[in-house]
């Protein structure tokens, strides 16, 4: 069933070429891995370095495989092309059992190593707490046990079509999420209509928000700045507008913000889809059907979307 080409004596030239090619490939793979760090937004949470390191590792291994395989393709394209009137066959090699077993085992070991490493990383992140089901109309927050190791929270994250509302333990409500740097924060993720997703690219973290379930979620921001929070789970007409900012600030600034904001009266918060919806209504409700946006949340701090974000 399997025959091999007749055995040649060791071909020194081939060994040298293959060695050089492997070394070049290793260098390229290493460079790609280093380069991959620049493809991300800045690292702003304790999870981010783990994710970026894992990605760099996979980029390195992936680049080695990619350039190795496509290098072989390039080689045969350069040196194994048939001439215009060449009707002859290639070398009639049907297989090589030893080689086939080796290249079954190599990917197997590679993915097992990556998977083991990933499990290790994943256990360290420990973002996800329990998820409890609740009946719509009841108070979901009564169900949720807080993350025992969190320093701050729980902060309620309420997602709607199409706005974000954040409720702090002292009752402050805001349209932008303020967090103290270097402290573990616990959230209770709540959706009032459809699926949404809490996604802060600079944190490298994402968690779906599921109507009918309340999810406990924790993270530790590690860098001060203004970062974008995006709804990542498609939620309808004005989904792309459903973004707000996360402001990570010093403990002092966070405390000040909480106390001053608590004195502000409630007012309509950010409602980014509203302008588009109003324009649609002004045009005579043209376009395909949509549910109207939920009323803007009433908050103490409506935020300021005109301030540019860092990432």
């Amino acid at each position: 069933m399997t025959t091999t080409a007749p055995k040649n004596s060791p071909n020194i030239g081939a060994i040298v070429i293959i060695t050089i090619a492997v070394v070049i490939n290793l260098v390229i793979a290493k460079l790609m891995a280093m380069w991959s760090y620049s493809w991300f937004p800045p690292q702003a949470s304790s999870a981010a370095p783990y994710v970026d390191d894992l990605f760099a590792l996979e980029t390195g291994i992936g680049s080695f495989i990619f350039f190795g395989c496509t290098g072989v393709m390039g080689w045969v394209l350069l040196f194994n092309r048939a001439g215009k009137y060449d009707e002859s066959d290639g070398a009639p090699i049907e297989g090589n059992t030893k080689l086939e077993i080796i290249w079954t085992i190599i990917p197997l070991v590679t993915v097992l190593v990556i998977a083991a490493y990933t499990m290790n990383v994943n256990m360290k992140l420990q973002n996800l707490g329990p998820k409890h089901k609740y009946t719509i109309g009841t108070d979901p927050t009564a169900l949720m046990e807080a993350d025992p190791i969190a320093d701050v929270g729980p902060i309620d994250v309420i997602a709607r079509q199409w706005s974000w509302e954040f409720v702090y333990p002292n009752g402050v409500r805001s349209s932008e999420l303020h967090l103290p740097v270097d402290q573990r924060v616990n959230f209770r993720l709540i959706s009032e209509d459809v699926l949404h997703s809490f996604f802060v690219p600079a944190f490298r973290l994402k968690q779906d928000i599921i109507p009918g379930s309340i999810i406990s979620y924790s993270l530790t921001p590690t860098k001060e700045g203004r970062f974008r929070l995006r709804d990542a789970m498609f939620s309808g007409a004005y989904f792309s507008q459903n973004q707000t900012d996360v402001i990570v600030e010093s403990d002092q600034a966070y405390g000040d913000w909480l106390t001053t904001t608590a004195k502000q009266p409630l007012q309509p918060g950010l409602d980014p889809g509203r302008a588009l919806y109003d324009r649609r209504i002004a045009r005579g409700d043209k376009g395909w059907a949509t549910v109207p946006p939920a009323p803007p949340p009433m908050v103490n701090d409506p935020g300021d979307p005109s301030i540019p974000h860092d990432a």
């Binding site: 048939a82 090589n96 792309s240």
Partner: protein, 574 residues
């Protein structure tokens, strides 16, 4: 002597419908000849490739600038939902069923499918659900617009309250598509198991047949889950049940299990036959046996098995606990092993080959190049922390299109060019084919490679507008997409003009080895009829110098002599 070679083990299919037309009109009739049905499938799906492509052009036109300024966001949502649905259910699934119809009977020496009328019925469901799906554009409130996965509760929102709405028609179309695919799968699997030529053991079947078998097995296991989920969604939408509605105590995440239990393996339903096409074409154009044929064949079923236990990797961030995420990460990553076996086998086939770079080979090489890339980003997506960052971003969209377009559609084009002479009896124009390849390869790369970076930076998928920091990647992507639109022009020109006036094709223009190449071009109604050859060798005997079937010279001579329909007719009735 050969007429006595009939082997009673080979089931004979019933004759075609009596009085079925035998001219161009047969392509518009309820014809039971698998080859006619194959071409019906392929022509229909290529039409819908253009429809789906047109929708994609509008989507990419919207995304060429950051604000939502081309169409209303609701229209945008409807367009990309329909783009995804059309491309999957009206382009890719039907076109691969077209290949199955053309290739399975001819490759295994069967006169037709096991159930020819079921086969025709399965095809004619395609235009029916196409009309239902396209009809949703005219439904009050517009077509379905909750993405091709149609997650509740958003897909259950029915702002106008009409009973007939876009979502209703969408679910109906998906269910009809599932019924059509199950009818096809029963037929293909039965045909492969029961109707092989004498001597064709499983390890003498071409790899395309193996992969089609593996893929159709997934259809049989997975589609009932999707269809069940779709029926429940329809009940929630139209009859007030609460399977997935949180207000009534339902769980929207349950739908995701139903949906992905089928819809992740569905990608393998599409990609496995394309692996089959690669495995058929590389040996022909490298003039070498397929490296490790048995490994490649068995790996197909390895993929089938693993594909059924990976679905929850689409749900890493829906509140799935860590222990479950780890299990599904492992199974998903393990898919890299059988696919890796295939990739290495193709590289082994190319190695020391004698390569001919005509259009089918170019599309295969391009598809393999893209697939290696897609496989690597696929492993990245399987690892939980990376998926948590890039999941539901443009990165996933880019990876998905690297699989679906840059690999699968490339393989489909390769297959169309390769078997075009066999089934139309005409040669295509090589120059136009190469222009098509070059435009497609550059367009596809420019379209999807940059989008990976938009996703890594955090651009969500399905947005009609985005922050300016993603603009550069999207501009590049849109230019690539428009280039793909232009690439369809030489393809259409080539197909239409070649079929109408191209040079007559010989029986075996590529000097390929396989039962289908022992038939005249185009093959007669019942392929080998009673002269079914006895297979004596493994496929892909390039350079090995042994015949594939007993009395091979007879079949070669006969295939070369029967050149036209008129000449074939008397032999048929004799």
């Amino acid at each position: 002597m050969t007429t006595t070679n009939y082997d009673p083990r080979v089931l004979k299919a019933p004759h075609p419908v009596p009085g079925a037309p035998d001219n161009w009109k047969r392509f518009f009739s309820f014809n039971t000849d698998a080859k006619v049905i194959g071409i019906q499938y392929i022509a229909t799906s290529l039409f819908f490739l253009l429809v789906g492509g047109l929708l994609a052009m509008i989507v990419r036109g919207e995304l060429i600038t950051p604000p939502a300024d081309l169409v209303d966001p609701t229209v945008y949502n409807g367009l990309y939902t329909m783009h995804g649905t059309v491309m999957l259910f009206l382009f890719l699934f039907p076109i691969l069923n077209g290949f199955n119809n053309l290739l399975i009977p001819t490759m295994i020496g069967a006169p037709d499918m096991a159930f020819p009328k079921l086969n025709a019925a399965a095809f004619w469901l395609v235009p029916v659900f196409a009309v239902v799906l396209m009809g949703s554009f005219f439904a009050p409130g517009g077509p379905a617009s909750s993405g091709w996965w149609s997650y509740p509760p958003m897909s259950l929102q029915n702002p106008l309250g009409h009973f007939i709405n876009g979502e209703f028609l969408w679910i109906l179309a998906v269910a009809l598509s599932g019924i059509s695919s199950i009818m096809g799968a029963v037929n293909f699997v039965t045909t492969i198991i029961r109707m092989r030529a004498p001597g064709m053991g499983f390890f003498k079947m071409p790899v395309f047949v193996w992969t089609a078998w593996a893929a159709q097995t997934i259809q049989l296991i997975g589609l009932p889950a999707l269809t069940g989920g779709a029926v429940m969604l329809l009940f929630d939408l139209s009859f007030g049940t609460s399977f997935f509605r949180p207000e009534g105590g339902g769980d929207p995440v349950l739908f995701q299990h139903f949906f992905w239990f089928y819809s992740h393996p569905a990608v393998y339903v599409l990609v496995l036959p394309v692996f089959g096409i690669f495995s058929e074409l590389f040996p022909v154009y490298a003039r070498k046996p397929l490296f490790g044929y048995r490994f490649v064949a068995i790996a197909s079923f390895g993929i089938t098995f693993l594909s059924l236990i990976v679905w929850a990797h689409h749900m890493f961030y829906t509140g799935t606990p860590n222990w479950m995420r780890h299990i599904f990460m492992f199974t998903t990553m393990l898919i890299a092993v059988p696919t890796g076996v295939k990739v290495f086998a193709w590289l082994g086939t190319l190695w020391q080959g004698n390569l001919r770079l005509n259009t089918p080979m170019l599309f295969c090489l391009g598809g393999l190049f893209n697939f290696i890339f897609a496989g690597i980003t696929g492993v990245m997506l399987a690892t939980v922390p990376i998926d948590i960052h890039v999941g539901n971003t443009a990165f996933v969209v880019a990876h998905f299109h690297y699989v679906i377009f840059n690999t699968i559609a490339f393989g489909v084009f390769a297959g169309i060019y390769h078997w075009f002479p066999k089934f139309t009896g005409r040669m295509y124009y090589e120059g136009l084919g190469k222009v098509h390849f070059v435009l497609t390869f550059i367009g596809a790369t420019l379209n999807w490679l940059p989008i990976h970076w938009a996703g890594l930076l955090g651009m969500p998928r399905r947005v009609a507008s985005y922050d300016p920091e993603f603009a550069i990647w999207n501009v590049l992507g849109s230019i690539g997409a428009f280039m793909l639109g232009v690439a369809s022009i030489p393809f259409i020109l080539n197909m239409v003009s070649s079929w109408a006036r191209g040079p007559k094709a010989p029986a075996n223009p590529w000097r390929a080895i396989g039962l289908e190449w022992l038939l005249p071009s185009p093959p007669p109604a019942e392929n080998f009829e009673d002269d079914i050859p006895t297979v004596i060798s493994e496929p892909y005997g390039y350079g090995l110098g042994h015949p594939l079937v007993e009395d091979e010279e007879f079949y070669v001579r006969r295939s070369q002599e029967a050149l036209t329909d008129d000449q074939r007719q008397p032999r048929h009735s004799a």
